[in-house]
Point group: C2
Chain length 289, copies 2
Amino acid sequence: VKTYLDCVPCIIKQAVRAPRRFTDDPVVLERILRKTMLAITEFDLSRTPPEMGCVLNHIMNRELGNPDPYLEEKRRFNMLASELLPGLRKEVKSAADPFETAVRLAVAANYIDFGAPAGRTDGLLAALFTEALSQPIKGGGASAIKRLRELAGEADSILYLADNAGEIVIDRLVIEQLPRGKVTVAVREGPAINDALFEDASVAGLDEVAEVVTSGVDLPGTPLNACPPAFVERFRSARLIISKGQGNFETLSDEPGTIFFLLVVKCPTVAQHLSCEVGDFVVAKNASN
Amino acid sequence: VKTYLDCVPCIIKQAVRAPRRFTDDPVVLERILRKTMLAITEFDLSRTPPEMGCVLNHIMNRELGNPDPYLEEKRRFNMLASELLPGLRKEVKSAADPFETAVRLAVAANYIDFGAPAGRTDGLLAALFTEALSQPIKGGGASAIKRLRELAGEADSILYLADNAGEIVIDRLVIEQLPRGKVTVAVREGPAINDALFEDASVAGLDEVAEVVTSGVDLPGTPLNACPPAFVERFRSARLIISKGQGNFETLSDEPGTIFFLLVVKCPTVAQHLSCEVGDFVVAKNASN
């Protein structure tokens, strides 16, 4: 997904709103806005929206003098999700279809998002997960989940691209359903909004059930042309890729390979791409293969 | 009203959407957006939102190679309003309170707006005017209308600041209620979105019932520090000023003098200033006197 003209006012709105979480100094707020606008004025729109988001985050973090302003929120959501995990794991185990239930919960967990216009940032996680068990799945729907299960059973290497902190705790439920010893989880290399880093993967205990690597970039998505060769090689050689969240979708929607996108749709542009609505739960396989 | 940080993403959104009315050339659309962002990056936020809007309009009109892109829409709304005028004049004449009825209709007519986030641009004018007769008036409400009538009866000079084309046709109903020979109507000097110009005042026949002048600027508001001395002198010497629309409110809310603001509220920032909601019909006297 390239960056549309409509993405520009959206990022400028975020340039006004996001920093208010961290400061009420009008001088700092105005400087972040002006510097972001100036930088976006030169942004190449053939690049992806997460790369534009990254421009804002670098400016904001520098002006705030804080390399990881969302750290506290990330920890809070890791904790909230960890508290819910045992109950949700029971839910999965007792379900008629444990795989589908795990996938549904992992999609719902993608609601935890501070960077998207329609991300949910409150603590109403428990209600969200209950909703997720019955809510219709868009994109490929139930048949995409079925196909994902089949391909996961056959694949000798699975790359799981995590998205946000908190969410990554719930991702463990899906990873526990995948064949042991074949899964690599990728997190961001450095702070990118509230996206999961190595620390968050550890809190989620993913190092116990999978190999954990980083994408090599501090971007809220995975634009392969910006990632180091070692990561790109890992991506290209994976037989199955499970991609969480809108940022990964926006950067990988045109890549070849067998990619399943699991996300909550958070903006009208992506909704249009996926022929669905903002707020929809999506499991969609990419076109190739 | 100064320009708030939140006004910036709003104007950038307009920089994406407004030009689409007039072209679908992606190169022109992108150039208008980038040039507007670059210009707004340097905009002094102590100036008013209509002055920021003017930056976009100058850039858009230049890039479109069209000094008055809204001309056709302005003429269309003048015509629509003119068709409704005889019926509305009957409504005023047969009303228990003709003055209040005329004011209500003139406030409602301010819905015709192409420059504001919540302006109404469809042709549902007739329904709008019916609504206006019973809808609660916010700001000073009915007592502000009563006070306006009293002051209008006493004033030896009344300055009526028009806002949009189409709307200005309905303004005539209020002007017909004011003492003859004492009213001056001010329109914009040059194209500013769909704001009324001299041509529109003529279509409305206002030159038959009042003196018509221009503000001296092509801005969707009346920032006195940008207006020529002759207009400022006229403004300062008027005993009563009736100001139509949000742009005039935003540029004149802090001026001394006896000013009544008649408008439909079109954005959350102005709504907050007036302690009301977006979409509310407002008649409000300024603080001084």
